[in-house]
């Protein structure tokens, strides 16, 4: 049953980072993903690293979407993805992050590379277009290679 669900809708776990309390971004992304036929679990504001790791392990989502706008996304995102990738069962889980990732506006956009290196599959910095994100969600498959992640 899960297999055929996977062809259309995907099971998406949606969260933010531990220091970020903004939720309009989460409310919006949940609606958007649901309208595209995905099944969304929204973990709400200030999601602690351990909770995100635990829910990824227990819920086995097809994809983890992290949204953050408070400007601590680079630091918090890097810490979180490092913890996620340390779990053998989560090494290939597709994980994306997006929003306003630093406190310097456009000057922060260049720093996306660091996050990919740390283990994210895609980074949607401020100004990224949402149709690219929608395409990514419907086509994301398990990661084949683990650039940068420890074996």
């Amino acid at each position: 049953m899960l297999n055929h669900l996977r062809d259309e809708g995907r099971r998406v776990l949606l969260c933010t980072v531990s220091s970020d309390s903004h939720t309009w971004n989460l409310v919006f992304l949940q609606l958007l993903l649901e309208e595209h036929g995905h099944d969304v679990t929204n973990l709400g504001s200030c999601t602690p690293d351990d909770l995100v790791v635990a829910r990824c392990l227990s819920d086995r989502p097809d994809l983890l979407v992290i949204s953050t706008v408070n400007g601590h996304g680079h630091a918090d995102g890097k810490r979180l993805i490092t913890k996620l990738r340390r779990e053998p069962a989560l090494r290939t889980l597709p994980v994306v992050i997006g929003g306003k990732l630093g406190i310097a506006g456009a000057a922060d956009v260049d720093r996306a590379g660091e996050l990919v290196e740390a283990g994210f599959d895609a980074v949607f910095a401020e100004g990224a277009d949402l149709s690219g994100f929608n395409r990514f969600v419907s086509t994301a498959r398990e990661r084949r290679s683990l650039e940068g992640a420890a074996p």
Partner: protein, 418 residues
């Protein structure tokens, strides 16, 4: 830097609107320079120290890690910074008797309040609901307990400790005015009950100037009834939702906030800057917004124009009475009110919020209930159709659109400013 309440009282009596930035930097030198620049701005100002998100959630390890890596934070980490450094940050303000308020956003404010009291600061902000639901996943009951203790400790500090309720800004946007008024008044009652003798009540500019004027009028009347035995003033916030992206749009919105504040009898205005939609503002951007707001405020007469009565005041009074009915202690009453859905903040994801209310912006630009859940609000036009992502973005961006793309008098949209 003492005497926040006295300063605002005197300015209000003299007919000057006090303007205040939302300013916070992790670099102590910048924080100090920001306070100096705020004091020197050509306006009647008070200073602000806004705290960073790690301090707000009590993650001091992350503050220290960021400092070690040289990563700038989105505010000043007052708890982990050593006393001597923070005293130096505040020394210019102290020398000039310049009032400073600490703004945070923490449901468990113990360490923060202890730190600011130890530093001799006499003004801060928040509330058991307004610093919990929009700012955390901490259970409301824990926030009420923690805030009770901290408010009592703050009330016992020397001088005339001044506490502002952030209840008039819930989630920044899309919360109808009756609920904002009810929450800021209820938090004011909570503060008074725990010994605070000087407080402020907040209200944020929203989607309609007429509705905002009506709401401020209602807030003043209800405060005069229920909080007449404590010193209080009203603080208006320049729009707290999605901000215009253009400088012209941002300044026009701020100018409208200044007019609203003066005409609505507010003593203080919290400004925003044209950087709001993009990033943390610089000191210069803050100063120029303070001066812009003050300049507009000086051109506005204090006479309150006649306001409409669409029922905001009655709705707010009904909500307040329904909550106070639940328990003799307003803290316990607030916890029960949220668990029964008697208070229900639209679009709030917090686990202790019922999440059955919805709001929208109507054709005239006013905020309206689409669904009231279990709140004691009479409704004739409930609209239970699910809100789509597109509709939600439309409501969230209504103000930004209106100010970024002003419509010419003949009805055609003006060219996009940029």
């Amino acid at each position: 830097m003492t005497g926040f309440a006295t300063f605002v009282r005197a300015a209000h009596a003299a007919g000057h609107l006090v303007v205040q930035p939302r300013m916070g930097f992790s670099d102590p030198a910048l924080m100090r320079a920001g306070l100096v620049a705020t004091r020197r701005a050509h306006a009647t100002t008070v200073g602000t120290v806004t705290l960073d998100s790690y301090t707000r959630v009590g993650d001091y390890a992350a503050v220290l890690a960021a400092a070690a890596e040289g990563t700038p934070l989105n505010g000043y980490p007052i708890v982990t910074t050593d006393d001597a450094t923070t005293r130096h940050v505040l020394s210019d303000s102290a020398r000039h008797g310049f009032p400073v308020q600490v703004r945070h956003g923490s449901p468990l404010p113990g360490d923060i309040v202890d730190a600011l009291v130890a530093l001799g600061l006499d003004a801060t902000e928040g509330g058991p609901v307004s610093y919990c639901l929009p700012y955390s996943r901490v259970p409301l009951r824990e926030s009420v307990t923690a805030w009770s203790r901290s408010v009592e400790a703050f009330a016992a500090a020397p001088g005339e400790p001044h506490l502002e309720s952030f209840g008039g800004c819930m989630l920044g946007q899309l919360c109808p005015p009756s609920l904002l008024i009810a929450l800021t008044i209820l938090e004011g009652l909570f503060f008074r009950r725990r010994g605070i003798a000087s407080l402020s009540l907040s209200f944020t500019q929203q989607t309609s100037a007429e509705q905002d004027a009506e709401a401020l009028h209602a807030l003043r009347r209800i405060a005069a009834d229920l909080l007449h035995d404590v010193d209080h003033h009203i603080v208006v916030y320049a729009y707290m939702g999605v901000h215009p992206r253009t400088e012209a749009g941002s300044l026009a919105l701020l100018a409208d906030a200044a007019r609203l504040a003066v005409r609505g009898g507010a003593a203080r205005l919290i400004v925003k800057t044209p950087a709001e939609a993009h990033r943390i503002p610089t000191i210069a951007e803050n100063v120029s917004s303070l001066e812009h707001a003050a300049a507009v405020a000086r051109t506005v007469g204090p006479e309150e124009p006649a306001v409409e009565d669409s029922g905001v005041e009655a709705e707010a009074r009904t909500l307040i009475a329904a909550v106070l009915d639940l328990h003799e202690d307003v803290g316990e009453a607030l916890v029960r009110a949220f668990s029964a859905g008697v208070l229900d903040v639209p679009y709030c994801l917090h686990a202790d919020n019922a999440g059955r209310s919805r709001a929208h912006v109507d054709g005239s630009g006013r905020l309206r209930w689409s669904a009231v859940g279990s709140m004691p609000i009479a409704r004739s036009d409930q609209d239970l159709r699910p809100v789509t992502s597109g509709a939600l973005l439309g409501y969230l961006h209504r103000v930004e659109q209106r100010y970024d793309h002003p419509v010419l008098t003949d009805g055609t949209p003006a060219a996009v400013l940029s």
